[in-house]
């Protein structure tokens, strides 16, 4: 379809995205009174020391509750937001060292799908034009082929007949179709990485399965890599190869999805997995839920950030921060007492 030399180049490294010790702190606005008294500036520690890699062709899930920093990590990873500290490499390129013009060119290779398709689409732009815009920006030299490329991609995402949908406007189609338009728009520049930030959270159950299926199919067809951000662990099961569980700006557990779901090693992961309702009235949850709610990220708890809510917390948990340790092959966890879950048999 288009040049995709970068995809087939031989001297590529194993990882498409490499994130090391990433921190993103947002300053809290200081009040006038605070300024007078020279109050110390406070920060929301949205992401506080996160490292992970994404292999080419894999789907890495970032899961956590609201305020866990999953969206911020996603935005920083593709250069939409500047990091506070740490390293972000895309295909071996350090994003922070890149001049803005080069970053803009690189954006062709990293596209985003957001949660709300209606908010992502310009209401006054026809669907075809909306999808075409990426091409006009990144491939102005092939203007005469744009229409055909758009039609081709629309058919690929199931907007058929494409010629019929080309001139429609966002309000004239259903929510499921709108998300297909957003997917088409992300794919039209032939990206390597797609950041999908809760891409199907708004869709109804019956439509959701179709969209998930489409995302998997298209990923295989176009050799894509996904960074899939979600709060819905049940949906993640159907698309992610690996998953990272976040709590208050830190990864508490990461590994192959089936490994993490089958043998969760962190008390928080255990609670999170148990909290997801199962569509079977015979298997109602009996486990009690952890007390309290996710704390304020301006003053995160000392030591392990989960300790105030953790049923297994001991003294060391509030004093020493646990580091990620590999307890099973490819499965890392940040908990001082994760071993106790090692022998536990979970169905």
């Amino acid at each position: 379809m288009k040049d995709n030399g970068h995809k087939n180049s031989e001297n590529q490294n194993e990882y498409l995205v490499e994130i090391k010790d990433l921190r993103k702190w947002f300053p809290v606005p200081t009040t006038f009174i605070g300024q007078i008294f020279n109050q110390e500036r406070e920060y929301v520690r949205a992401v506080d020391g996160v490292s992970f890699n994404i292999r080419r062709g894999e789907v890495l899930g970032l899961a956590g509750e609201s305020g866990s920093g999953k969206t911020t990590i996603g935005r920083v990873s593709i250069g939409l937001e500047e990091k506070t500290e740490g390293e972000v490499h895309f295909d071996g390129i350090d994003l922070s060292k890149l001049p803005s013009e080069d970053l803009r060119k690189l954006r062709r290779r990293m596209q985003v799908i957001f949660q709300d398709p209606l908010a992502s689409l310009n209401p006054r732009m026809s669907l075809g034009d909306a999808i075409r815009q990426g091409l006009e920006i990144h491939y102005p030299e092939t203007a005469d082929q744009h229409r055909d490329i758009v039609i081709e991609i629309m058919e690929k995402v199931g907007l058929t007949p494409a010629r019929f949908y080309y001139n429609k406007f966002p309000h004239q189609i259903s929510g499921g179709q709108r998300q297909r338009v957003v997917i088409a728009r992300a794919l039209v520049t032939n990206p390597d990485l797609v950041l999908a930030d809760e891409p199907i959270a708004m869709a109804d159950v019956s439509v959701r399965a179709l969209l998930l299926d489409l995302m998997v199919k298209i990923k295989d067809e176009l050799n894509l890599t996904y960074l899939f951000i979600t709060h819905d662990l049940a949906t993640a099961k159907y698309i992610c190869d690996r998953i990272a569980i976040l709590y208050l700006g830190k990864i508490v557990e990461m590994g192959d999805l089936r490994e993490v779901y089958g043998h969760p090693l962190h008390p928080y992961t255990n609670a999170l997995l148990a909290a997801v309702p199962v569509p079977d009235p015979h298997e109602r949850r009996k486990e009690p839920m952890p007390k309290g709610e996710i704390p304020n990220p301006i003053h995160p708890p000392s030591g392990c950030r989960f300790h105030p809510r953790c049923p297994y917390a001991k003294d060391i948990c509030s004093e020493e921060e646990p580091i990620l340790r590999e307890l099973r092959p490819g499965h890392v966890v940040a908990c001082h007492f994760a071993e106790m879950f090692l022998d536990k048999k979970l169905s």
């Binding site: 439509v207 662990l233 049940a234 099961k237 309702p277 199962v278 569509p279 015979h282 839920m289």
Partner: protein
């Protein structure tokens, strides 16, 4: 549960919205009962009429919407005949409602205790403030809200806490029915699970009935005693939660249940992909509204609308597969699994 006392009986209730594009029948002749002390889950996709249904139960449909027919019998009285004053008393005291976003339901400049005292005094003007405060205090303790939180403003509370205040407001007047419209939807899973536990606890303690309106079918499996499934303004299936999840009868319910993601490994690994999308209700499909998407559709399905009939004890289904009709061609039926 062997004997059920009916708290609210809904008969042939219809709600229509008049729009530029024509009449939208959001709820079309829906009938069902709500039992005393039960948790009834009302599920369906967006636009199926479940929220409209919830509002209609309190006659809170606003123009361009209108209740165009049917009866709502509560404790033997038809509330459709109530005047505005009677309705005001009915809302809150008999039936109260919790919405999805507690921040928009709570007054941002009123403290928690002021909310509760106001709710009491509106309905029971003779109650003294001290007495109301005391009642509020007892209730709030039962809901697991700390006493000092009584002086907090809504923005100082977390999402889960706000929603518990809403539940408290629903309970403080001893309402018999609480309608929870997507009450747990904007909450995180752990907070949602805790609120679900709490809803079950207050049902057990106060004997109140709950109508849980949600698109989250897994939550209904977790929480409710009975399930009602709506599709395109019709109630297509209703029954006890176990038989519905074990053996759904309506093809829509079947497809819906098979398309729910299940977090358990090795369960429902292949999501069912239902064809099409819910219809536009300005021009609903003829006959059974599900027939264009139905894998078992027969010729009769697009001609006549099936009745909601009782198949087995307490189990009602609205589908031609389970009904007889002289025009029904037997050979096209697929036997349900």
């Amino acid at each position: 549960m062997t004997e059920h006392k009916i708290l609210m009986k809904i008969c042939d209730l219809s709600v229509t919205y008049t729009t530029r594009l024509g009449q939208v029948s959001a709820v079309d002749k829906v009938s069902f009962d709500i039992y005393k002390g039960e948790i009834l889950g009302l599920v369906g996709e967006s636009g199926c009429g479940k929220s409209t249904m919830g509002k209609a139960l309190m006659r809170m449909i606003q123009p361009p919407g209108q209740i165009t027919g049917g009866q709502i019998i509560f404790n033997g009285e038809d509330i459709m005949t109530y005047n505005e004053n009677q309705m005001r008393d009915f809302r809150g005291r008999k039936v109260s409602m919790i919405f999805q976003d507690p921040m928009t339901s709570l007054n941002p400049v009123q403290r928690v205790d002021e909310h509760i005292v106001e709710a009491i005094q509106v309905h029971e003007p003779k109650t003294k403030v001290d007495e109301a405060l005391e009642r509020a205090g007892t209730l709030v303790r039962k809901l697991g809200i700390q006493k000092r939180r009584m002086n907090s403003y809504p923005h100082q509370l977390s999402g889960g806490m706000r929603q518990r205040v809403m539940v408290g407001l629903g309970l403080v007047l001893n309402a018999d029915l609480i309608v929870a419209d997507e009450a747990t939807t904007s909450l995180d899973v752990i907070v949602e699970a805790k609120l679900a536990d709490q809803l079950r606890d207050i049902r057990d303690e106060f004997g109140v009935s709950l109508l849980v309106i949600t698109h989250n079918i897994a939550l209904v499996a977790e929480l409710s005693d009975r399930v009602a499934v709506m599709y395109a303004g019709h109630l297509v299936e209703i029954g006890n939660v176990e038989p519905i999840f074990d053996n759904p009868l309506h093809p829509y319910t079947k497809g819906l249940l098979r398309s729910i993601p299940n977090i358990k490994l090795n369960e429902n690994e292949d999501l069912y992909k239902m064809a099409g999308e819910p219809p536009n209700l300005t021009h609903p499909p003829s006959g059974c509204r599900f027939h264009p998407r139905c894998p078992n559709a027969m010729p009769i399905c697009q001609k006549y609308e099936p009745e909601l009939v009782e198949i087995s004890s307490g189990r009602l289904v609205k589908c031609w597969l389970y009904l007889d009709h002289p025009e029904k061609e037997q050979d096209t039926i697929e036997v349900p699994a």
